[in-house]
């Protein structure tokens, strides 16, 4: 086994999934083709369809919530599992097939090389990515400016869920510090305040063919309000709160 393969065997790919029976098998298989050495974990968030069975059938490790708890709680379950089992590196990818798994090695490279603690996949640095809707782009632009200003370095895609990080970030995310209600821009600010190094990596993202989104109806308004509040209180918190124990 080559050293690169040995390193990849220590990686856990976490896929949070809710009612993704139609996609999950294809996503797991695509990841398996790109990084066959990695373990793949699907966290089924109380789906009402056959998501868990489809994921298990595709060869993934499956954890199932007893009921629907939301995206943030679901990915934190994955972090806790990874932490329990001592994985030094974690990749997080969406279950709807929007994130191109071909970019996993590129996302992992700076983390595994020790050049950064947290790699954030950015659809805006990769020319072949889709363009989100106007309203979504407007929201992303707002948080891009805000996060860039607050952490003092450029972040182009603060709402990206395509990420890779090391053991230290993993341990940090298993604590109560992790914002379980839409962890996006506030999480990046929290990481920065805790002294972690953040780097963006170009990744390809596709438009969701089903058009399904977790930001539908009045949710974008709640999302904007919640995120602004969360960022505000994060900035008010004492530095001791972010101490990495």
């Amino acid at each position: 086994m080559r050293s690169e393969e040995r390193d990849l065997a220590k990686v856990l790919v976490i896929i949070p999934a809710y009612n993704e029976a139609g996609n999950i098998g294809r996503v797991v298989a695509a990841i398996r083709r790109v990084v066959p050495e990695c373990d793949i974990l699907v966290v089924n968030d109380g789906s009402r369809d056959g998501t868990a069975a489809a994921a298990a059938g595709a060869g993934a490790i499956v954890l199932s919530h007893a009921f629907n708890m939301g995206y943030g709680v679901t990915i934190q379950t994955g972090y806790k599992f990874a932490h329990c089992h001592g994985y030094p590196y974690v990749v997080q990818i969406d279950a709807d097939g929007q994130h191109d798994p071909a970019f996993i090695p590129r996302l992992l490279a700076p983390v595994m090389a020790g050049d950064t603690d947290f790699a954030l996949g950015s659809r805006f640095l990769e020319e072949e990515s889709y363009r989100p809707s106007f309203s979504r782009r407007l929201g992303i632009l707002f948080f891009r400016k805000l996060v860039t200003h607050l952490i003092g370095r450029s972040v182009t895609d603060p709402t990206s869920g395509y990420q890779a990080f090391n053991r230290e970030v993993l341990r940090f995310f298993t604590t109560d510090v992790f914002p379980c209600d839409y962890p996006d821009a506030d999480m990046l600010i929290t990481l920065n305040l805790a002294g972690f190094r953040i780097r963006e990596v170009p990744v390809r993202m596709y438009a969701n063919p089903t058009g399904k989104t977790m930001h539908s109806g009045t949710k974008p308004l709640y999302y904007m309000f919640k995120m602004c509040l969360s960022i505000f209180v994060t900035l008010l918190r004492n530095r001791k709160f972010f101490r990495r124990t």
Binding site: L63, S64, H65, A66, M69, V73, T77, K80, C84, D176
Partner: protein, 125 residues
């Protein structure tokens, strides 16, 4: 304050106090949640008995009538109660979150062990 109003206010405060104590005695209400109810009924009782205190308080907050002070006090009490419940619900939500996560991880471990032993999950112990 008219005599009838005074009697009514005293009865209400006494009723709240006794009812709260009874609920705690029957273990249907935790001590933690009884504090605000008991405190408010005591304050109400004292202010009705010591009417001049109520008048002083009325002048202090700039209310027109002593009954307005009591009314404002009850609104403040309800707000505090709402806040207390929100804090408690937030804590309970966090605890439910931790339990659900732990349950998912333990269930996976359990299924793995069962599979390794070749035992049927549905078979009787």
């Amino acid at each position: 304050m008219p005599f009838k109003q005074q009697v009514f206010a005293l009865l209400v405060s006494l009723l709240v106090f006794v009812f709260t104590i009874e609920m705690v005695r029957q273990k249907r209400l935790r001590e933690e949640y009884s504090v605000l109810w008991l405190f408010t009924s005591c304050i109400m009782f004292v202010l009705v008995i010591k009417y001049d205190w109520l008048v002083t308080l009325t002048n202090l907050i700039g209310a027109a009538l002593p009954t307005s002070t009591l009314f404002t006090g009850s609104i403040v009490f309800l707000v505090l109660l709402g806040v207390q419940f929100s804090i408690k619900i937030s804590r309970l939500s966090d605890q439910v979150k931790d339990l659900v996560q732990e349950n998912a991880i333990l269930r996976h471990q359990f299924e793995k062990i069962v599979k390794a032993q070749g035992t049927d999950l549905d078979s009787k112990p």
